[in-house]
């Protein structure tokens, strides 16, 4: 199946073993990018391991721990070194709901792709190498402990959600990772790193048939498995608390204000599901509302800036994944309370009066242009496509909605989503 937009082509194939392959040939690109990802992230802490019958609860931080350890290989040569030795710049990351292994290179692409496919499919975990990693990850956790943005973010999630695993740090804690053993890691690996739970995306100047044959020759030849039994935390009703505060060594108070979105009554199906174009529409509507609320061309922004209440633009985001969704605004101010008050006043006004058609058309053009920017870079394209895959949406749908969304669509979301009973604020303050 092939889709074309913005002079870019997306070619998809679902292999017999269940692996979803997405190829995006980009003529003239010097760099190539490949990402191999599994639908296993920090929130998947309860599941029935492959071949077993009972639910297992694993320590926090297990998905991230496994991400670190998969590079270790039986021949004693770390896969990161192997890739680095042929000039490929490799990395990996873990999110709430997926883990991804990737590289970017300008030469030796075929070989690098083979190494990627091989190491992710062949774990080598020993008591010794698992213990050794605890010191390294311990330092990673401490680095985030000192990161005010990260602390602000988790303060916010803890307001919106109560028991949900999204409130736990992706890397876990020094205490929780102490409990991790090779046995636990293998159980997770065998369950979630099955090809039928994975996706591979390649972007670059290549021949599709050739890349597809490399992939087919280097993935396990087995049949697609049944869906994994995972016990995802339920979509919670309402929010946990309205406010969180923390003190850190920083220069100015920071805030994150946002709304939990209970639009997701049922879980999203991961993978491309074209029914989910509605989700893209909702995302685009929320982006437009944020631009009209606090964007750089608004009177509110000008007022906040001129009165010295903010020194740089406010950030905004909408996140939706299989069993959680929220929007957020972030900023820094000497007077956080006043800034929040002004944002809420404007929001109420917008809800009451609706939005301006001319402004809408201008913002649509702008968001469309910003989206086109992303398609300059193979690694950006690859990471967008993969993260959208795990959201259950098609990246190219954004191009259509940026052009076609209507005033009524935006106003409907404005009334529905920005519900102050589902609003929370997280603050990090200087000492």
């Amino acid at each position: 199946m092939t889709i074309e937009k913005l002079n870019e082509k997306m070619y998809r194939k679902h292999l017999k073993n269940g692996l979803e392959v997405i190829l995006m040939p980009k003529k003239g690109a010097i760099k190539s990018y490949a990402v191999f990802a599994t639908h296993f992230g920090s929130i998947n802490h309860k599941f029935v391991p492959l071949g077993e019958e009972n639910l297992l609860t694993v320590p926090d931080g297990v998905a991230h721990f496994l991400e670190h350890k998969l590079f270790e290989q039986e021949d004693g040569v770390n896969a990161l070194d192997k890739l680095s030795k042929i000039g490929a710049n490799a990395n990996a990351y873990t999110t709430f709901n997926h883990t991804a292994y990737l590289f970017e290179c300008t030469q030796n692409f075929d070989e690098a792709l083979e190494i990627l496919l091989h190491f992710v499919q062949n774990p080598y975990l020993t008591k010794e190498n698992v213990e050794k990693e605890k010191g390294i990850i311990g330092q990673e956790i401490k680095m985030y402990d000192d990161d005010p943005d990260w602390q602000l973010f988790f303060g916010f999630l803890n307001c919106l959600y109560n028991e949900h695993a999204i409130t736990k740090d992706i890397a876990g804690t020094v205490e929780s990772i102490a409990e991790i053993t090779p046995e636990i890691l293998y159980k997770c690996y065998n369950t979630f790193y099955d090809l039928s739970n994975m996706v591979l995306c390649v972007v670059g100047d290549f021949d599709e048939e050739k890349v597809l044959s490399i992939i087919e020759n280097n993935v396990k030849n087995e049949n697609e498995k049944e869906k994994i039994h995972r016990e995802n935390d339920k979509v919670e009703e309402g929010i946990n608390k309205k406010r969180a505060e923390k003190v850190m060594d920083i220069s100015m108070p920071m805030f994150m204000l946002g709304f939990k979105d209970d639009f997701l009554k049922q879980m999203i199906n991961v993978g491309f599901d074209y029914e989910n174009s509605e989700l893209v529409k909702r995302h685009v509507a929320i982006e437009i509302i944020f631009e009209m609320l606090i964007g750089k061309s608004t009177e509110l922004y000008e007022d906040l800036y001129n009165s010295g209440l903010i020194q740089k633009e406010l950030g905004s985001d909408y996140t939706f994944e299989e069993n959680y969704a929220y929007s957020s605004i972030t900023g820094e101010s000497k007077n956080v309370e006043l800034v929040i008050q002004k944002i809420l006043n404007k929001l109420r006004e917008m809800k009451e009066n609706g939005i301006d058609e001319n402004e809408l058309e201008r913002i649509k053009k702008m968001l469309y242009g910003e989206y086109v920017f992303l398609f300059n870079d193979v690694s950006k394209i690859g990471s967008i496509v993969v993260s959208d895959y795990f959201k259950g949406v098609n990246s190219f749908d954004y191009v259509d909605w940026y052009r076609n969304i209507q005033k009524e669509d935006v106003e409907k979301v404005l009334k529905e989503h920005f519900d102050e009973t589902k609003m929370a604020v997280s603050i990090v303050k200087p000492q």
Partner: protein, 427 residues
């Protein structure tokens, strides 16, 4: 993707980097000044004031509406320090005309917008609008204060500040809070006028553009400024004698310690030493196969991040690591072993090759990154030696082990900086 240079006026050059690879066109304008305590804060302030309003678009809102209409074009005005120099830099980027809904000429609109920002600021009684100057002083004050927020970069800044105390490079790139009080719209405008009139100006245009149209447009805009180009404006700074190594400890409320060690390359000759030092730094701490990554992280589990970086405009190497506060001495000793190994030639041909292939990949990748290639060429211009990517790759690959050992021996440790907290670590 080489650059093609056209001399617009004396001291104003236009560089084309022609490419059809991107969906965007990119214009960047740089002006260079000496990095000095007397002007560093002013120079950091000027781009921010210019960004506030022009003769035709007097408010920030007016400018931002224009950018939105131009399909979310991005405008940035800022300053940076590059070695002992300060650059005032202005960027605008937009999608290429072919991706607009009705084939609009965004490039031409954006060239005008950028020129308006730089050449026709909103004035009041012949100087900058006082309201804007006062507001931007407060914004800059907060920006200067915010350097403590990111602990890793803060430790780097502090290390360089202590190491280069008596040199321009030791200055903080955004200047100093205490210098803000003396800045007025009059003296700030004078500094702006002086830079516009006498400094070296470089304009870069990257994308699939009609060169003649660009030349005509920019000639037309820039001929209106009064120029009195001073080719001797930029002075070369020679570093003092190498100092004795010192230890600087600083406390904050942190859970992880940040260690940064600063080394000076004695008699740094950038043309001779640059490529050997680039290879040196890659072997020591630039890749996952590097000595620091392998020994400090992988074998000893002391750190999650550890790396080395070579500042070619200054002849400085920095080694950094985020560690347990109690492991200060252990990490320092282990890092010293790696540095000694480099001096003694305890690294293999394989290490050389690993470093080189990784650098080659990084250099080739510049071609796919519109801003990186402009910044690369601009940085090279300041060193007085612009090279194409294939030339860079060749020079880097020609580096021998002997050359790496030679530069390794020229590194002298001047400072050990450690950011920790009060509670832990007794010694």
């Amino acid at each position: 993707m080489d650059e093609k240079t056209v001399e617009l006026f004396e001291g104003i050059s236009l560089h084309f980097i022609h490419t059809e690879r991107f969906k965007t066109d990119f214009i960047a304008i740089f002006m260079f000044d000496n990095l000095k305590r007397e002007t560093v804060t002013m120079n950091a302030l000027i781009p921010a004031v210019l960004r506030r309003g022009t003769k035709n678009m007097p408010t920030m809102k007016d400018i931002n509406i224009s950018l939105e209409k131009n399909y979310g074009s991005v405008l940035d005005a800022s300053s940076d320090k590059i070695g002992d120099k300060q650059a005032l830099q202005f960027y605008i980027t937009s999608i290429n005309n072919q991706y607009t809904f009705t084939n609009e000429d965004l490039l031409s609109k954006n060239m005008d917008l950028l020129c308006d920002i730089i050449l026709e600021p909103k004035l009041e009684n012949g100087v900058f609008d006082n309201k804007y100057v006062e507001q931007e002083k407060e914004t800059l004050r907060e920006l200067i204060k915010s350097k403590i927020n990111n602990k890793g970069s803060y430790a780097n800044i502090r290390c360089v500040e202590e190491m280069c105390k008596n040199e321009p490079y030791g200055l903080y790139k955004f200047g100093y809070e205490e210098d803000l009080a003396n800045i007025t719209s009059e003296n700030l405008y004078r500094q702006y006028d002086n830079i516009m009139s006498t400094s070296e100006i470089h304009i870069y245009v990257s994308g699939d553009v009609n060169e003649k149209e660009v030349i005509d447009k920019l000639k037309n805009r820039f001929e209106k400024i009064k120029r009195n180009y001073d080719a001797t404006r930029i002075e070369e700074f020679k570093a003092n004698e190498v100092a004795e190594p010192k230890i600087v400890m600083e406390s904050q409320d942190v859970t992880q310690g940040k260690l940064v060690i600063g080394y000076r390359v004695i008699n740094h000759d950038v043309l001779e030493d640059m490529y050997p030092l680039i290879v040196y730094s890659a072997i020591l701490g630039g890749t996952p196969s590097s000595k620091l990554f392998q020994n400090v992280r992988e074998k000893a589990s002391l750190a999650y991040t550890t790396r080395s970086s070579y500042l070619k405009h200054k002849g400085i190497v920095l080694i950094s690591a985020g560690i347990e506060i109690d492991n200060f001495q252990k990490a320092l000793d282990l890092i010293n072993v790696q540095v000694e190994d480099m001096k003694n030639g305890n690294f293999s041909e394989e290490d050389m090759n690993d470093a080189k292939i990784s650098l080659e990949n990084a250099y080739e990748s510049y071609l796919d990154e519109q801003t990186s290639i402009i910044n690369l060429y601009m940085g090279q211009r300041l060193l007085g030696n612009v090279q194409s990517i294939p030339e860079m790759i060749k020079n880097m690959k020609d580096v021998t082990k002997e050359e790496v050992m030679r530069v390794a021996k020229e590194l002298q440790c001047e400072i050990i900086y450690f950011l920790k907290n009060d509670k832990e670590m007794e010694s």
